[in-house]
Symmetry: C2
Subunit: 228 residues, 2 copies
DNA sequence: ACCTGAACACCGTTCAAGT
DNA sequence: ACCTGAACACCGTTCAAGT
């Protein structure tokens, strides 16, 4: 009786793709991309490195699955009850925020083939572009532009986070921006005239607001596109 | 006399940062990112791995320098003698084409910190945005949006090239697109309704044209932006 | 000042052997 | 069917020793 009802100990739950991906995400979040190692992962799952290969074909698939799991979580379940524009903003911000909490997604999104994670975002963007009333032949272009912009910002944010972490780990966000702005202001006056000029705006700017402004720019472009 | 004028043999030119970066680019172009190894690089330069570290701090810097060298080569030397819109298109296409010939740049751009290569593109984009007559407070946003879009497409193209290379090396471009379109058409009809619908356009689409259409979309957005 | 190359401390992945 | 963990074939990076 007793043996029949006892719970198996947490550490001895059978290995599964889900548990592996879950542990990989944890590792990525806590120790970064470099910390995700088959040996570290195996230790966390109290097993050997080889065992993981029974459930996952290799590191690339593991990274892809981890990214997909996180991105899937940010996608809305049902249809939006707002304007398409607002739905697109919410969608974009969802990805943006996911990258902020899991910076490693930023790289992974950019390098994942046209497969799962990107496709999810593309699909949801496309639906809203459709709801926007864009002509069919233009929907592909519009959804792609939005997706590429989002992925581009994501990659950049991830790179910034990495640089921030690697070079000035214990410095605050504002201090980090101050340093970057100071570096811009120090650039060659003729070769980097424009960049120097906007250095001040870099200091003041808010990543999130700036990201949304870019989204709105594209939305405006979609609304005013020249028929062709 | 003879000894004085003889050329030193190519293989025995002294090591230099430039030669190292040049060899790294060659390696990246021919054997890909995975082929760039300090051992392979050392062999090509007929020296030991350790020697490289005298001129370069590590692999990250080397990749950054290689990317910067290529990107710098695509930037225009003087002011453009066309409309700002056209100059932006040329600029964007320059980066696009550079990524097509050197796919590894795609990743590298996305992961290079706000440093050199990105800054070059940002500067040139900014100047044209300025020439476009965008209000100062908006120039930063506009240039950033263009840059992020370009980098996003670049990363995606690089990922595609990698996937194409890894999975179907000896298949043509059109066949590759056909396969992707077929995969899209096979997606779940309710979960991926939009993506299935545009699968046909994926087959017909031209990356370059599509890329430019996205640029034009953002340019339209810049032209029609709501004052605020 | 610059180069050499063995050595260190890791990796991802495989695979015979176990259960 | 699934797990184990030693072993293989690599990496990037360091560093004493050379010139």
């Amino acid at each position: 009786m007793a043996t029949r009802t006892r719970r198996t100990e947490r550490r001895e739950e059978p290995l599964s793709r889900e548990r592996i991906v879950e542990a990989a995400i944890e590792l990525l979040d806590t120790v970064g991309e470099r910390g995700l190692t088959f040996r570290a992962l195996a230790e966390r799952l109290t097993t050997g490195p080889g065992a993981i290969y029974w459930h996952v074909t290799g590191k690339d698939e593991l990274l892809g699955a981890a990214t997909d799991a996180v991105v899937a979580g940010t996608m809305p379940a049902g249809p939006a009850d707002t304007t398409p524009q607002e739905a697109i903003r919410v969608l974009a911000l969802g990805v943006f925020d996911a990258i902020e909490t899991h910076p490693w997604i930023g790289n992974q999104l950019a390098r994942s083939p046209g497969k799962s994670p990107m496709l999810r975002v593309f699909e949801h963007l496309g639906r809203q572009v459709q709801a926007l009333g864009a002509p069919p032949a233009f929907q592909f272009t519009a959804a792609s532009a939005l997706l590429n912009y989002i992925v581009g910002v994501g990659g950049q944010n991830a790179a910034d986070a990495r640089a921030h972490q690697a070079r000035t780990p214990d410095t605050g966000r504002t201090e980090f921006l101050d340093n970057a702005a100071a570096a811009w202001a120090d650039l060659d006056p003729v070769e980097y005239a424009f960049t120097r000029g906007v250095a001040g705006q870099l200091r003041e700017h808010d990543d999130r607001t700036e990201f949304l402004a870019g989204i709105d720019l594209i939305l405006t472009g979609i609304a005013h596109r020249q028929p062709g």
